[in-house]
Symmetry: C2
Subunit: 193 residues, 2 copies
DNA sequence: CTTGTGTCAAGAAATAGCCTTGATCTGCGT
DNA sequence: ACGCAGATCAAGGCTATTTCTTGACACAAG
């Protein structure tokens, strides 16, 4: 159950076996069935989750009931509404399992304890957040400057398998384009080759 | 929004207008879309819900992933995992909206306050629980003594409209029979008349 | 005034959910 | 040991829902 977590951590920092054993005690495993929610708008995000297995999406719903996909989170990724997790304020996020998932949850207090007891995790999470920030910045820039096709191609490049795992309209939402546009872009691309 | 709640309460006890106004402040309205969950297994049941509109089912899932429907809850009914609500232990129940629902939620503390401030509610909830117990006892007995057809006929008698609102396989599960058996029983019944 | 994309509407295609039916098996009561 | 109620397994068909595509048109920005 914790293999992937161990792998991901030790890709970035060095910890002893004993430290990892301690680390494990702070997480609670949780299975989340497809279409169930890890977090719903209005709730406080009480956990940060490590995805051992499965795939989730984070999205918000605006006043017009339209959905905006912010993130897909797959094996080896972390998922939470960071803002709500840290401040304790109610979240606007919905985090939904798109496939049956196996998660490792950690609460705010356990997380603090982890950082306190094993300072190397400070470094681990810093690196994590850094990477996330960079990716998010890139997406922001892309949203200004790239065409629909460019955005789609980048996604395919970075996550070639995601197309088989999530419906196109969610991809479109993630890219900030309409499903119709995505459909046409794909049509043009295959027509060309 | 609170009409039905008022009606249901005053069917059983007498309260003043002011008292009902106070009562209203303790509930929070909540819309729950079809296929969404009010409660998932493993969570603590933080609310008891009054159903203003819609229909929900409570069910458990056993080790073999089989579902057992314990209850349907429709307009004017209350729904919760009483055990989890009272003890604060994690629930084994799943409570899912089968239709878009409008609910009135009350938390444990608000509920305690309600009972404390307006003792007539002690009586109201006692009556409610009594009725529920009686129905549950009847179902238990029926599960021993009745044939599949008898169980089905009783259901039709008591809740003639439920058939139009929930799929047969859920009815079967509620009756403790397989969907195949229910299908055959229905076939035989219509063949006879 | 062309290009990229959005909006609206309509269908087509694909998938999932639901119900039925037949064949076969099982436990229980007589 | 037999018969019956009901379970299980497997297949098929129907319906509803979800997903994707396409066309017609609007519109804003370069």
């Amino acid at each position: 159950m914790y293999e992937l977590l161990y792998k991901k951590i030790t890709e970035n920092i060095t910890i002893t076996e004993a430290e990892f054993e301690f680390c494990k005690t702070l997480f609670q495993p949780k299975k989340l069935r497809r279409k169930r929610f890890l977090l719903g708008e209005g709730e406080v995000c009480k956990y940060t989750a490590f995805v051992e297995k499965g795939l989730l999406r984070s999205y918000i719903i605006d006043e017009k009931e339209a959905e905006y996909v912010l993130q897909f989170s797959m094996e080896g990724w972390w998922v939470a509404d960071l803002s709500s997790f840290l401040t304790g304020e109610p979240s606007e996020f919905n985090i939904e399992a798109l496939e049956d998932c196996e998660l490792l949850l950690i609460t705010r207090p356990s997380w603090s304890l982890l950082l306190e007891k094993i300072p190397a995790f400070e470094r681990y999470f810093r690196i994590l957040i850094e990477k996330n920030l960079i990716v998010t910045q890139r997406r922001l820039i892309a949203s200004f400057t790239n065409t629909a096709e460019e955005k789609y191609q980048k996604l395919v490049q970075n996550f070639p398998h995601i197309l088989q795992r999530v419906p196109q309209h969610m991809i479109a939402s993630y890219l900030g384009i309409t499903p119709e546009t995505l459909s046409r872009v794909r049509g043009q691309m295959t027509a060309r080759k």
